[in-house]
Amino acid sequence: MRATVLVRPKPGILDPQGEAVQSSLRHLGFAVEEARVGRVVDLELEGEDPERARAELERMCQQLLANPLIESFEISVAAE
């Protein structure tokens, strides 16, 4: 089963990488007011139970994939 985790810097957290990207895009002529840079983790999971997968992914995020102090996360499990 495929799943995707999106990890984002929480609102209000300074994101210097996002600022650099925003400024570069403006240099290229794009009207970008803000850019925030996060991380995508694509996973291939064993098992076929989406509920169970979701619970596992929640624990993966809490323990390793995100730092809850500064990052939020969003889980999606591919429906097949």
């Binding site: 957290i13 300074l14 210097p16 390793l64 994939l65 730092n67 102090l69 500064i70």
Partner: protein, 233 residues
Amino acid sequence: MSESRTRPRIAVVVFPGSNDDGDAVLALERLGADAFPVWHGEPDLPAADAVVLPGGFSYGDYLRCGAIARFAPVMGAVTSFAGEGGLVLGICNGFQVLCEAGLLPGTLRPNASLSFVCRDVDVVVERADTPFTTRAEQGQCLTMPIKHGEGCYFADDELLAELEATRQIALRYADNPNGSVADVAGVVNADGTVFGLMPHPEHAVDPLLGPSGGALVLGSLVDAARERTFAPA
């Protein structure tokens, strides 16, 4: 008791990607400890009076600095050691590992400038009453090198207020090099027995080679480890 028994034993953990472990061992030896490396894959710590997590780039800094190292087999033993009141010092990447492991509050993020910063900095000693700072005086300015890309200390407003109230900010930058909140350069845990800092004391112990402010930090640790081990019960 032989002379060597008055030297406290200090374990320096080596992760894949650590690169300041050698200097940490040499500096601690020079300051009067029996320092020895411990490989991260060890499930147990050999008998030690203190533990140092050195600088470097453990596990290539993948995901977040220190995020993977905190799950190294030896970290279970380090966490137990800290839980029993054992002295633990984390330098640079070691500080990041301690934060990720939850042994220290807050976290370290990419420098606000996004640049890797490598130079000597002045830090002000806010607490001279921790086992890591007794050789210094409160308000004293120490010069030590920093070399990091992700040393921007972050704690949210609530946590920061708590750290200020409990005086857990042990070191502050005189001139903030990386965007850390409240100029934080080093923090201790609530008991003052676990300390993490971004500057490198192990690179600043010999006046022949530059500033020697680090000798006060590591010397304090050696003193504290010695007292704990050899003081009459």
